[in-house]
Amino acid sequence: MDFRNRDVVSIKDFSKSEMDYILRYAKKMIPYARGERHADVMHGKILASLFFEPSTRTRLSFECAMNRLGGRVIGFADPGATSQRKGESLADTIRMADAYSDIIVIRHPQEGSARLAAEFAASPILNAGDGAGRHPTQCLLDMFTIVMEKKRIKGNRIVLLGDLKYGRTVHSLAYALSLFGAELVFVSPESLRMPKEVIEECREFGVDPVSTSNLERAIRDADVLYVTRIQKERFPDAAEYNRVVGTYRIDADLLRHAREDLIIMHPLPRVTEIDPEVDKTPHAVYFKQAFNGVPVRMALLSLIAGGRKI
């Protein structure tokens, strides 16, 4: 299996066996991600971290991953301090980053930006989120979290909750989870239902997802509850946002209906979707999930640009 110098723009850039390989490799990275063991497979390598949009976890965990592997990081977290402000094209910014680094991580507000970056860079491009588009490393770390908590993805009943229409990262997640044989339940307000092309894609893998608005019922036999934030910035219309925000809230009262071993995931940041009192329960794995970004990104960096394997 050869990952060397590959771009990671969409989760669909990987086959099932490649995803499986990355997840297994990420598991090996855990002691390195915790700092218990030391690695230097990225020694002498430079990562360009180009964040044109705000990010906490994705940026820090990529930078942490590169540092833990013995590499160095250059970049910016605020495009206001770059020539973008003077009207420079993304293509030119990428050409510069390509000249200064060995691997490029990009988050950008426009969909398709990572694909464009991949056209202009010789170095591999890792998409850290392109607008409402794709976020493949988030998808991998979500899958990794399920594998770590539930041993496998196959056969688990996974509820995806929230904005399933505009939140396109859940589209990639639904694709990947069906590829691995999960049972899927889509819970959302009527107006934010999962698009039919995503459901059709799940069916191609033999998964027949259930769509409903009733969270209380869906949660009863769920193994995993994946909560997403309803993102105001993705709505074309403020009135539509106001109608649906606050529809679902995960709290102790709701969790009385859940199984003991239900795990709750969230890509974070959360706003009001999960009551902070849930954090103390064994259901909450979203902070572990955020940590899992480090071993998963270490695995990817190492496979794509590392000098040798761990």
Partner: protein, 152 residues
Amino acid sequence: MKELKIQPIRNGTVIDHITAGQAVKVLHILGIPGSTSSSIVSVAMNVRSRIGRKDIVKVENRELDRHEVDKIALIAPKATINIIRNYEVVEKHRVELPDEIVGIVRCSNPTCISNSPQEPVKSKFLVISKDPPRIKCYYCEREPEDIAERII
């Protein structure tokens, strides 16, 4: 005697088997009538044929190039192109969508990077179905619903 509704042309292009009702869009794609175009153009709509109704466009003194043909295939996938010289058909082929459509259709997603004027890229679509035509933006992966309206 059967009366011909449209006379044969001496030189030019006949686009036959256009999906009924799409002739006007074909003209739009071809930029006809354009300010610099002096070609005589005949249009027949809802013509009866063996395979049902169809539209026909005849453009005198203009031979369509491949780039234009590709564009037509997006809205009239069964169309045939006949190049006429001195009343003879010298070339005839059915339009066929290539696997990629570059610089012809604008992405329907306003925040797609391919719609940014400062980026040095042309729009690019991958063809996911040739008949009926379905295309997906190479950059943002969105599928435009009404392709005809998105033609540049």
